[in-house]
C-alpha cells in the first residue's frame, strides 16, 4: 500500500509542481477571461444581482453605432504606427550615434534613458503643465519666438490631442528603445566594420549594410513590444485628456475603463474587452509568424 502511494506520488509529482501556478493561472487569468466573455452578453452594472441577457446586442452596437469605439480603434492604430515607426528610426539612430566614440557619451545615454525611469503619473502631470494652453511651456515658447499661429489648445483640440499624447509616449519610451538597440549594436563584431572600411564603405553604408541587418532580430522584437504597448495604451490618456474632447483621444483600454468603472456598463465593457483580447490575439499570432524560426536578440 505504502509502495503504491509512493509510486502514485512519484508518477504525479510533476502535476503537484505545476499545481500552484496552474491554480493562479486558472483563478486570475483563465476565469476572468471566461467571465468577461459571459458578461458581454448581458446588461449588467457590475455589482447588482440583476442582469438582463441580450445576446450579441453589445457587439452589434459596438460595430454599428458606437462612435467612440471607432475613434478608439483609429487612435490605437495612430498610436501603434507612429510609435513603432518613430521609435524604430530615432531609437536606432540615437543608439548608433551613442555607439560611436563621442565625448560625454555616457551622459547622453543617461539623459536619454532618464524618462524611462520616471513614473507615468509624474510624466503625465509634467506634460499637462507643458501643454497648458495659457501658461504652459510649449505655448509660451511658441509665442515667444513668434510662432503664435502654431499654438493650440493641446489637450482639448480634437485634431491635435491624440498626437500630443503620442508625443509624450514617444518621449517616455525612446530611452528604452535606444538602450535595447545599443545592446544589439554592441553585439555586432567590430571586424565587420573594419572590413567594410577597407572595402571603402562610408559611415552611412556601414550602418545600412551592417548595423541595420544585424540588429533586425532586435528590431522585430521591439516592433512587437511597441504594438502591444500601443494596444494597451491607457495611462497617458487617463492622465492628460481623459479621452476628450468628445472621445477624440480615447483608446480602447480607456473606453473599457470608462464603461466599466465610471458609467457602470460592465456588460458593454466586457464586450469591448473581448474585442481588445481578439485584437491582441491577432497581433500575437502575427508576432509568432514574424518570429518563427528567427532568433530574438534582446
Amino acid at each position: 500500500m505504502r509502495w503504491r502511494v509512493a509510486r502514485g506520488l512519484r508518477a504525479n509529482s510533476g502535476l503537484l509542481f505545476v499545481l500552484p501556478g496552474l491554480l493562479i493561472y486558472l483563478g486570475f487569468i483563465a476565469w476572468p477571461i471566461i467571465a468577461t466573455f459571459y458578461n458581454s452578453f448581458f446588461i449588467w452594472d457590475g455589482f447588482s444581482p440583476d442582469r438582463e441577457f441580450i445576446g450579441l446586442d453589445h457587439y452589434v452596437r459596438l460595430f454599428t453605432k458606437d462612435r467612440a469605439f471607432r475613434l478608439s480603434i483609429r487612435n490605437n492604430i495612430y498610436w501603434a504606427v507612429i510609435t513603432v515607426v518613430v521609435l524604430s528610426i530615432f531609437g536606432f539612430l540615437f543608439a548608433y550615434l551613442l555607439n560611436q566614440r563621442i565625448r560625454l557619451r555616457n551622459a547622453y545615454r543617461a539623459a536619454l534613458f532618464l524618462p524611462v525611469t520616471a513614473s507615468l503619473v509624474v510624466i503625465g502631470f509634467t506634460w499637462e503643465f507643458i501643454y497648458q494652453p495659457e501658461v504652459g511651456l510649449l505655448s509660451h515658447t511658441l509665442r515667444r519666438y513668434g510662432f503664435d499661429h502654431l499654438v493650440r489648445v493641446w489637450l482639448a483640440d480634437p485634431d491635435v490631442t491624440i498626437f500630443a499624447i503620442i508625443v509624450v509616449s514617444l518621449w517616455a519610451s525612446l530611452g528604452f528603445w535606444v538602450v535595447v538597440f545599443l545592446a544589439a549594436l554592441q553585439a555586432v563584431p567590430p571586424d565587420l566594420y573594419d572590413c567594410a572600411a577597407v572595402d571603402g564603405a562610408t559611415g552611412f553604408r556601414q550602418m545600412w549594410h551592417i548595423a541595420v541587418p544585424l540588429t533586425m532580430g532586435t528590431t522585430r522584437a521591439l516592433w512587437i513590444l511597441g504594438l502591444i504597448r500601443a494596444i494597451n495604451a491607457f495611462a497617458l490618456v487617463f492622465l492628460l485628456s481623459r479621452g476628450g474632447p468628445y472621445h477624440a483621444s480615447e483608446v480602447i483600454a480607456y473606453q473599457i475603463y470608462e464603461q466599466a468603472f465610471r458609467t457602470n456598463h460592465t456588460g458593454y465593457a466586457s464586450a469591448l474587452s473581448v474585442v481588445l483580447l481578439l485584437i491582441s490575439a491577432v497581433v500575437t499570432i502575427f508576432q509568432l509568424l514574424l518570429l518563427r524560426g528567427r532568433r530574438i536578440q534582446l
Binding site: 489648445v153 483640440d157 474632447p245 477624440a248
Partner: protein, 462 residues
C-alpha cells in the same frame, strides 16, 4: 550522478520536506492560543483603542474647511479633540470616486463613511445604511423636519425614492451650495461702471461680457472638469428652459426639446467667446483662477457655483485668496435664472461598516455638531437649521454672505439638478464636443437622451 547534480533536492526529498512543512504549519495553526491574563488584558485594551478608529473617503475640496488661522489643515485634530475618534481619511479625486466605490463597496473593503455627492454616489446608495432608526432613537420621530432645512430635505426625499425606500434617510446633509451664481471682482466692475443689479436679462449680461471681449479681455475663467461643465449647463438650462431639467428627468419632455438644445449652444458660446482661450481643456483650475484672485482685471468673473470650493475660499490657506473673498468679491444670480440650492456634501454610513457607532458619532459631529459649526464659521451654509453662518465682520457679509444665504433660505430651492449618473457622465463628454465643434447641439442632446433612455429609467419611476 555527478557531484553537481547531488547539490539539488530530489523530487522525493522535496515532497518529504513539503509534507513536513505542511504538517508543521497545520499543527501550529491548530494549537490553542497560550494567552496569559496580562496578554488578554493588553489585547482588550488594544481592541478598545482600535474602536476609536473611523475611515472616511472624501475628495479634497470637501475637507478644506478645517483650517486654523494660518491656513493649516486641522481636520483630524479637531475631530479627535471633539469626539475622541481617530480618523483615517482616504482622499480620492472627485472624478475617480465612483470607480473606487464600485471596486470597494461590493467587495466589502470600503470605508465606514462616505462624503456623498449625487453625481458620484448615485449608483451606490444601495450600499449605505438606512438612518431613520438611528435618527429616531437619537432625536425622536420628527427628527428630519426638526433638524434640517427644506432644501436639504427635498434632496434626501428624492434619494430615498430612487432607492425604493421612500421616507428613509440614507445620509445626513452637510454643507449646502447654490448654482447659477457668478463671482465677480468688484473693483473691476466699479472701474467700468458696471452695476450687476441692473442686469435684467441674459442679454444684458452678454452685453457686458462682450464689452470686455472688445477690450481683449476674456471675462470669465473656465476650466475642464466634468462637474464644472455640468454645473454651467444646469445653470444655463435655467435661462433657456427654466425648470425643464427636472421635467425631462421624470419623463415629462426630452433633452432634445428645443429649450435644452439651446442650452448646449449657449454653453459652447460662453466657453468659446467669453472664457479664456482653451478653457474647455484647461485642467489646472488654480492657474485659471489666479488672475481673478490677483485682481489684475484680466479675469473679472469666475465660475457659476458656490459650493465646493468657493465658500471654502473664505478661509483659504492663501492670504491673497482670503483677502479677495473677504473684501473684493461680489456675486449675482445669472439674470433670468432662478438659481438652485442643493446639498454640496452629505455624509453616509456604509452598511457593511463594523464601526457603526463610531460612524454615527462622526456623522452627528460633521452635520449637526461642532464639526458643522466649524464649517459654518468659514462662511459655508449648512443643511442643519440650527447652524447659522456667523458674520465675518468683513465686506464678505455684505457682498457674498447676505445674497447667498438669503437665496439659500428663501430662493427657489426646487430640486432641478442632474439626477442620473449616466446623464451626468454623458454631459461631461458631449459638452466639450459641442464646444469644439465635433458635434452639434442636437446630436449632443440626442446622446444625452439616449443615455437617459438606456440607463436612467429608475428616475422616471421615482
Amino acid at each position: 550522478m555527478t557531484d553537481n547534480y547531488r547539490k539539488f533536492v530530489s523530487r522525493r526529498e522535496f515532497l518529504r520536506l513539503s509534507a513536513i512543512a505542511t504538517a508543521g504549519a497545520t499543527f501550529a495553526a491548530c494549537a490553542p492560543p497560550a494567552a496569559q491574563p496580562e496578554q488578554a488584558a493588553a489585547d482588550a485594551a488594544s481592541a478598545a483603542e482600535a474602536d476609536t478608529t473611523i475611515t472616511l473617503w472624501s475628495w479634497g475640496t470637501a475637507m478644506a474647511r478645517y483650517r486654523d488661522v494660518e491656513g493649516n489643515d486641522i481636520f483630524v485634530e479637531t475631530l479627535k479633540a471633539d469626539t475622541g475618534l481617530d480618523l483615517e481619511l482616504g482622499m480620492v479625486d472627485h472624478p475617480d470616486m465612483a470607480a473606487k466605490l464600485k471596486a470597494a463597496l461590493p467587495a466589502g473593503t470600503g470605508p465606514d463613511l462616505l462624503n456623498t455627492d449625487f453625481d458620484i454616489v448615485g449608483p451606490f446608495w444601495g450600499f449605505v445604511e438606512p438612518l431613520n432608526a438611528w435618527g429616531e432613537a437619537e432625536w425622536g420621530s420628527s427628527w428630519k423636519e426638526d433638524l434640517f432645512s427644506g432644501a436639504a430635505l427635498s434632496e434626501m426625499e428624492i434619494v430615498a425614492n430612487i432607492v425604493d425606500l421612500p421616507g428613509e434617510s440614507l445620509y445626513l446633509p452637510g454643507n449646502m451650495q447654490l448654482l447659477g451664481w457668478v463671482y465677480y471682482w468688484i473693483p473691476t466692475f466699479e472701474e467700468r461702471g458696471i452695476d450687476p443689479s441692473t442686469f435684467n436679462t441674459w442679454e444684458d449680461f452678454e452685453a457686458v461680457l462682450q464689452a470686455f471681449v472688445d477690450d481683449d479681455i476674456a471675462p470669465i475663467g473656465g476650466y475642464s472638469h466634468p462637474a464644472t461643465f455640468v454645473d454651467w449647463f444646469k445653470s444655463l438650462v435655467e435661462i433657456t428652459a427654466p425648470g425643464q431639467m427636472a421635467e425631462v428627468q421624470v419623463g415629462n419632455g426630452k433633452f432634445t426639446d428645443s429649450g435644452i438644445v439651446t442650452a448646449f449652444d449657449l454653453f459652447a458660446k460662453v466657453h468659446n467667446e467669453y472664457m479664456q482661450e482653451g478653457a474647455i481643456g484647461a485642467q489646472d483650475g488654480n492657474a485659471v483662477r489666479e488672475p481673478f484672485w490677483n485682481g489684475s482685471g484680466d479675469r473679472p468673473i469666475i465660475n457659476i457655483f458656490t459650493g465646493t470650493p468657493y465658500f471654502g475660499f473664505l478661509h483659504h490657506e492663501s492670504e491673497v485668496i482670503r483677502d479677495a473673498m473677504n473684501n473684493h468679491v461680489g456675486t449675482f444670480l445669472l439674470p433670468g435664472a432662478k438659481g438652485l440650492a442643493a446639498t454640496d456634501a452629505g455624509v453616509a454610513m456604509v452598511a457593511a461598516s463594523e464601526r457603526k457607532e463610531n460612524a454615527w458619532e462622526y456623522m452627528k459631529w460633521r452635520t449637526l455638531g461642532p464639526g458643522a459649526e466649524q464649517i459654518a464659521s468659514t462662511g459655508q451654509p449648512m443643511g442643519a437649521k440650527a447652524i447659522e453662518v456667523p458674520p465675518q465682520d468683513t465686506d464678505f457679509d455684505k457682498n457674498l454672505g447676505e445674497p447667498l444665504l438669503e437665496a439659500m433660505v428663501s430662493g427657489d430651492n426646487v430640486f432641478r439638478r442632474v439626477l442620473c449618473t449616466d446623464v451626468y457622465q454623458q454631459l461631461g463628454v458631449v459638452l466639450p464636443g459641442v464646444t469644439v465643434g465635433q458635434i452639434t447641439a442636437e446630436e449632443a442632446a440626442q446622446e444625452v437622451q439616449d443615455a437617459f433612455d438606456q440607463s436612467c429609467q429608475q428616475w422616471v419611476k421615482s
